[in-house]
């Protein structure tokens, strides 16, 4: 190999650079996210159920919201009938956040943990939260 | 060949760092715009496009004008353009990149730029413009690079380059035609709504682009040992002359239809630009400057003894370039917006930050141009005594 010294040095520097997030976070303790369901509306529900089962929502809520957004805005079809046949209005502000009125402790809990910043809230209005 | 851009004189590096500094200032200004929105520009509800889109429109013309060297050289076998044609192609590359940057800085949501390709709308001229500009950039990079590389090796370019060159000719015409169609098909925008818009875009492009190329060639001759050839430059000067004459003629046609018909919608924009309307006259001085410079340049170019004098030719090209830059890069856009479709007037003038961003984009364009020219010149200097094979 030509210039092996320089090449190997380059590879090492590259690896150090790429691996930065890993060794930067070594030894840091970050709490596992624990989204809270403690809101007045949810507490009053007899049957604590989201539009779809919890496991589904956990994995697919972003796809579902994206889908809702497209079919509501582009096709003008604003209702969603879930697997149990129950009808919901497709609305982040008026359906999702009516129950999950604790954005800070529900949405942000995981989003912050996985470092995603959905830009929903540049337009959609966050529910007013009572700061504890 | 890129390595050729990494070695150069002190002067070369000074110029490079100067451009980087200007581009950096533009970038900082852009960060302000990114944060606070296009409110930092002089744009408004009534004049929703301004300096950025004007520069874009003007530079599409500069990019398309490379075809004025390609046609004589490759279609008519005009050998004297052999050395200079690469300068035209590389000018086109940097001009198209500037166009794209101007579109980018003009966008309200630049992070969504890929939506144009993800959700294409074939009835939108802007979609086609994005498509043809991208294609033209690719064509010129490939053609320029392949021919230059072959020259360096002293061989003929690969056989697949020729069809691409032929393709680039109608493609160049198309980029400027499509750009004109952005404007020429809009209802109730009288100033733009003319079948002549695309034709006059092309004529002004074929005057302004080659004029810039003459200026650049003069600089290249001064700073390097590469000489594009005085005969080549004189031939380009003739192209500039004819194109400019056609351009002024087209302006005359437009003036006749607009003014003789007496239809107010057609006259208002012209009145705003050249005499002022209802006391609004911000653009009047620069529009008259443009007109006077156009006449001056045309006189200097049409007289053969004047045109043959290198100093006067360069001056004529500079004057012509400034004239067309004002007319197309500014007046044309603003004239279409003022007065608005209800006959009300909102004036436009670029802000300081907007100007910095614009200068920054030009600096990036010149940076790319400098690097590409450095490569081309270095190759040409090495092969100064070798006959070109393509």
């Amino acid at each position: 190999m030509y210039n092996s010294g320089k090449v190997i040095m380059g590879i090492i520097i590259f690896l150090l650079f790429v691996a930065f997030p890993f060794y930067y976070n070594i030894g840091r303790v970050i709490a596992t996210p624990d989204p809270s369901l403690d809101t007045p509306v949810i507490n009053e529900l007899v049957e604590k159920k989201c539009v779809e089962p919890r496991e589904f929502m956990r994995v697919e809520h972003m796809t579902m919201l994206n889908d809702w957004k497209d079919s509501a805005i582009r096709d003008g079809r604003r209702a969603y009938i879930n697997t149990e046949g129950k009808l919901f209005e497709k609305s982040l502000q008026n359906t999702c956040m009516r129950c999950h009125s604790n954005k800070e402790r529900f949405c942000n809990e995981c989003h912050t943990y996985v470092a995603v910043k959905p830009y929903c809230w540049t337009c959609h209005i966050e529910p007013k939260e009572k700061k504890l | 060949m890129l390595e050729k851009a990494l070695v150069g004189s002190r002067r070369y590096w000074l110029w490079i760092f100067f451009l980087i500094a200007i581009a950096g200032i533009g970038f900082i200004a852009y960060l302000q715009q990114y944060k606070y929105g296009l409110a930092i520009t002089g744009l408004s509800r009534d004049v929703s496009w301004g300096l950025y889109i004007g520069q874009f429109t003007f530079l599409v013309g500069v990019a398309a004008s490379a075809v004025m060297l390609v046609i004589p050289y490759y279609l008519h076998d005009y050998k004297k353009f052999g050395k200079i044609v690469i300068l035209g192609e590389f000018l086109a590359v940097s001009a198209v990149i500037m166009c794209m940057l101007f579109i980018f800085v003009d966008m309200g949501q630049p992070m969504r730029i890929m939506n144009v390709m993800l959700y294409p709308n074939p009835s939108s001229v802007m979609f086609w413009d994005a498509l043809v500009l991208g294609g033209y950039l690719g064509l010129n990079i490939i053609i320029g690079w392949a021919t230059l590389h072959a020259d360096k090796k002293g061989v003929k370019p690969a056989s697949w380059v020729k069809p691409l060159i032929y393709l680039s000719i109608p493609w160049a015409i198309s980029i400027h035609t499509v750009t004109a169609f952005l404007y020429a098909g809009l209802p109730d925008r009288h100033f733009w709504f003319s079948a002549l818009t695309a034709a006059s875009f092309l004529s002004s492009a074929f005057a302004g682009g080659p004029a810039l190329l003459i200026i650049l060639s003069m600089i290249v001759r001064r700073v390097s040992r590469f000489d594009p050839g005085i005969e080549a430059i004189q031939s380009i000067a003739k192209i500039v002359t004819y194109a400019m004459a056609a351009n002024v003629f087209f302006i005359g046609l437009k003036l006749f239809t607009s003014l003789y018909s007496g239809i107010p919608g057609y006259g208002y924009s012209l009145a705003y630009l050249y005499t002022g309307l209802d006391g609004h006259n911000t653009l009047v001085p620069i529009m008259w400057t443009s007109s006077i410079l156009a006449v001056v340049s045309l006189v200097l170019l049409i007289m053969p003894p004047l045109r043959r004098n290198e100093g006067i030719l360069t001056l004529a090209c500079v004057v012509l370039f400034i004239s067309l830059w004002i007319d197309k890069g500014f007046g044309f856009i603003i004239g279409g917006f003022v007065p608005n479709p209800f006959g009300r007037i909102t004036e436009y003038w670029p802000t300081f930050l907007e100007t910095l961003i614009t200068i920054g984009v030009w600096a990036i364009g010149f940076l790319i141009l400098t690097v590409l020219y450095k490569i081309a010149i270095s190759v040409r200097e090495e092969t100064a005594n070798i006959k070109l094979e393509h």
Binding site: E52, R77, R78, Q93, C123 | Q109, P120, S124
Partner: protein, 269 residues
């Protein structure tokens, strides 16, 4: 196995195209197999929505204000003072500037200066839809020219193309300029274009557009394809105008012009 550098690069290139293509093929919602799409109960539907504005019923400043406020409040339209950055879904201008083709030198002052309510015309042949490079603005089956704020790239081509000045661009973050926020409707973000959407969200919930509701009969809304609708009835009974008919955009917002009443009596002396 042996592979030269060229072959390796080709393989890499092809595989990356493959990965890209695979990602492109995946459409949103492909993994969503639960539930189904429907309409809300009581949703209002039409083949072609249309509006008729009775100009004679707008007499005082307050008549316009209450309609404009109803719309702008419902949709969180910011009140930006700087006219260059102004956002408006529904607004007023005088008759002479609105119907400039009908204007002439000796028109009565009362008519020339008469204020007219303006909004998006939801044209049957909308130039804004034609020019939008991303289909962010598009025509719905019921004729509404819809604006998808999620997709708009802020190129402002639609503003240039609209001959009615119906479109506003968010030159700056609109939120600080919204005095009273309606928590049931979103705001917009910086850098997108917005306009009247005929309250398609309200129609989907069985409600009339906010302006129509607030106008107390001065604005009519209905299905133009239905000969028995209120709008067709009004169009039959009155002299009506649309803005700039010569452009072929075919607006569906009509203006009732009762000339007699404007002049204060229909008698010619």
């Amino acid at each position: 196995m042996s592979m030269d550098r060229r072959g390796f690069l080709k393989l890499i290139g092809l595989s990356s195209i493959g990965i890209g293509a695979g990602w492109m093929i995946r459409k949103p919602g492909e993994f969503l197999e639960a539930g189904s799409v429907s309409d809300l109960p009581g949703a209002l539907e039409a083949k072609q929505w249309g509006m008729v504005i009775d100009t004679s019923k707008f007499k005082t400043e307050a008549d316009y204000k209450k309609v404009i406020n109803a719309c702008h409040k419902a949709h969180n339209v910011p009140a930006i003072e700087n006219p260059n950055h102004e956002i408006k879904w529904i607004w007023t201008d005088d008759f002479a500037h609105t119907f400039s083709e009908a204007k002439h030198q000796y028109m009565t002052e009362g008519l020339k200066d008469k204020m007219v309510l303006l909004l998006c015309n939801h044209c049957k042949n909308p130039p804004c839809v034609r020019v939008c490079p991303t289909k962010a603005t598009f025509k719905r089956k019921d004729g509404i020219v819809q604006q998808d704020m999620h997709r708009c790239i802020g190129c402002r081509f639609c503003m240039t193309a609209c001959p009615y000045g119906a479109r506003s661009f968010n030159y700056t973050n609109p939120r600080p300029y919204i005095k009273e926020t309606n928590p049931e409707y979103p705001t917009r973000m910086i850098g997108v274009v917005e306009k009247c959407i005929f309250c398609e969200g309200r129609l989907a919930r069985g409600l009339m557009p906010a302006c129509v509701e607030a106008s107390q009969g001065a604005m009519l809304f209905g299905d133009l394809s239905d000969t028995n609708s209120v709008v067709r009835e009004a169009l039959r009974r009155h002299y009506t105008l649309v803005r700039k008919p010569k452009l072929g955009t075919e607006p569906v917002v009509f203006y009732i012009l009762d000339l007699g009443r404007d002049k204060g009596g229909g008698e010619y002396a």
